[in-house]
């Protein structure tokens, strides 16, 4: 399988996100990226949409469901969310949607900061293998991979995608 072109996917994602926000009447959303890949994707996305607001950054380490198996990641950093998420529309951005567990952790963390008006999910790539009832609202591309394969994002500039065995 050829590696997807990250730049093309970003442009498609930005275009589809515009249409999605228009259709759902989402005005002045807060963009939140999930560290690390989601932050890179969100920055590129905001640049393409000419959005100069502050990007929220989530580190979901303390909300993961595998702490008792893997412990604390040595790379953990503080989350940085804009002052209040109360009554705001949120565009949650990450690189690859796979099991859905990262998004579950991110949703829990967002709700510990307040009560947003809505949360929409924008993903650069989604693949098969969901373990939770979580779907993206906007995606750059959908892939079907076998269980040994995964999608690797490198960045922050330029972003490149690679399918690794």
């Amino acid at each position: 399988m050829n590696n997807p072109n990250a730049q093309q996917l970003l442009e498609k994602l930005a275009k589809d996100l515009c249409i999605y926000m228009d259709k759902n009447n989402i005005r002045k959303p807060i963009f939140i990226g999930i560290r690390t890949g989601g932050v890179w994707v969100a920055k590129h996305l905001m640049a393409l949409l000419n959005n100069k607001n502050e990007l929220g950054i989530l580190d979901i380490t303390f909300y993961r469901d595998d702490f008792s198996r893997t412990g604390i990641q040595p790379t953990v950093k503080p989350s940085q969310l804009p002052l209040s998420v109360d009554d705001r529309h949120i565009i949650l951005v990450d690189d690859v949607l796979h099991t859905g567990r990262t998004v579950r952790a991110a949703l829990n963390e967002i709700f510990d900061y307040g009560r947003p008006a809505s949360v929409s999910l924008a993903m650069l790539v989604q693949r098969d293998g969901r373990e939770l009832p979580i779907q993206a609202d906007v995606v750059g591309d959908s892939l079907t991979l076998n269980t040994t394969q995964h999608v690797k994002l490198s960045g922050p500039d330029p972003l490149t995608l690679e399918i690794v065995d």
Binding site: T70, P74, V76, F111, D112
Partner: protein, 313 residues
């Protein structure tokens, strides 16, 4: 890291890992719900054989902000007063399927002793043992210094007062040396200095004027009257005259020097109110950062060992 008993067995990388993890917990303070689910279902026991306000309450808050359950055992009113031995008390608490004991004890070495006998599923954190060590206090002091001054390698730090009875000073000296501070000084009358104190890796001063000259951080210690039998100082009044931190004395240090104190402070004995409440004092920031640092240490002792990234102690 199964237990957290003292500083000296840890490397600079391990101390830095604790400080970095603590840094990431500072954002929890800004959440509307000041809690993360990391230690949900874990039970943490505050086992205090000696009075404490700050350490016990910040450990309790740290545990609660990690969503753990906390048991506060007040030894003064517990079964040990009915003749139960220390180890029997521990075995009973273990039988309740607890995960961490936070131990404060008046005897040096108590935490190490307990760590030798506890069941494999229990971790021990030393919250101060006699005159020996108070490693979580030292870590929150290091966190405060790093937060405000970034790099240890150009810092001169003076620790002033009752070094002899101070477990805080011992742990601070170890941590500062491991993290590569330029210079660690101790300033005290000879009666309040332990024998061969130089071997701890410090420069010794008995005169405040010389000792405070040009330092970046001044750490004041409390006179530990409860550990003193006999006359170590002529009087508190005279001690304040010679060693109390007044604005005039603080002026000998660098103009932006930080003033720290592990608490509780005795105003007019080791520090004047003017300095304790003044612009250079970071005493209350130490308390605030104590929560994030204790959250980090709690989660690291409960965290399963990782390949290469684990901390042994």
């Amino acid at each position: 890291m199964r237990h957290f008993l003292n500083i000296r067995e840890l490397s600079s990388e391990q101390l830095t890992h604790i400080l970095d993890t603590a840094e990431s917990f500072t954002s929890v303070d800004g959440q509307a719900v000041k809690k993360v689910p990391l230690l949900r279902g874990k039970t943490i026991v505050n086992l205090f054989f000696e009075p404490s306000t700050r350490t016990r309450t910040t450990f309790e808050l740290a545990a609660k902000r990690l969503s753990a359950d906390v048991l506060n055992i007040n030894i003064a009113t517990s079964a040990t007063t009915k003749g139960e031995s220390l180890l029997d008390t521990l075995f009973n608490l273990e039988a309740m399927n607890t995960d961490v004991f936070i131990v404060r004890h008046p005897e040096s070495g108590a935490a190490d002793f307990i760590a030798k006998y506890v069941a494999p599923h229990v971790s021990i954190i030393n919250a101060g043992d006699g005159k020996h060590a108070h490693p979580t206090q030292a870590m929150l002091d290091m966190f405060t210094i790093r937060k405000l001054r970034k790099d240890f390698s150009y810092l001169s730090v003076a620790i002033v007062g009752d070094i002899l009875h101070s477990r805080v000073a011992r742990s601070q000296i170890e941590a500062l040396n491991i993290l590569g501070a330029k210079e660690v000084r101790v300033i005290a009358p000879r009666t309040l200095l332990p024998a061969s104190v130089e071997k701890l890796g410090v420069k010794v001063f008995q005169d405040c004027k010389q000792g405070l000259h040009d330092v970046d951080v001044v750490i004041m210690l409390r006179l530990q009257k409860e550990r003193m039998q006999g006359a170590f100082i002529p009087s508190e009044h005279e001690y304040f005259q010679l060693y109390g931190l007044t604005p005039e004395r603080l002026a000998l240090a660098k103009p932006d020097a930080l003033v720290m104190h592990p608490g509780p402070i005795n105003r007019g004995v080791e520090i004047s109110s003017e300095v304790a409440d003044g612009p250079q004092s970071v005493i209350l920031q130490q308390v605030k950062y104590g929560i994030a640092v204790r959250m980090a240490i709690l989660s690291l002792v409960i965290s399963p060992e990782q390949n290469g990234a684990a901390i042994e102690s």
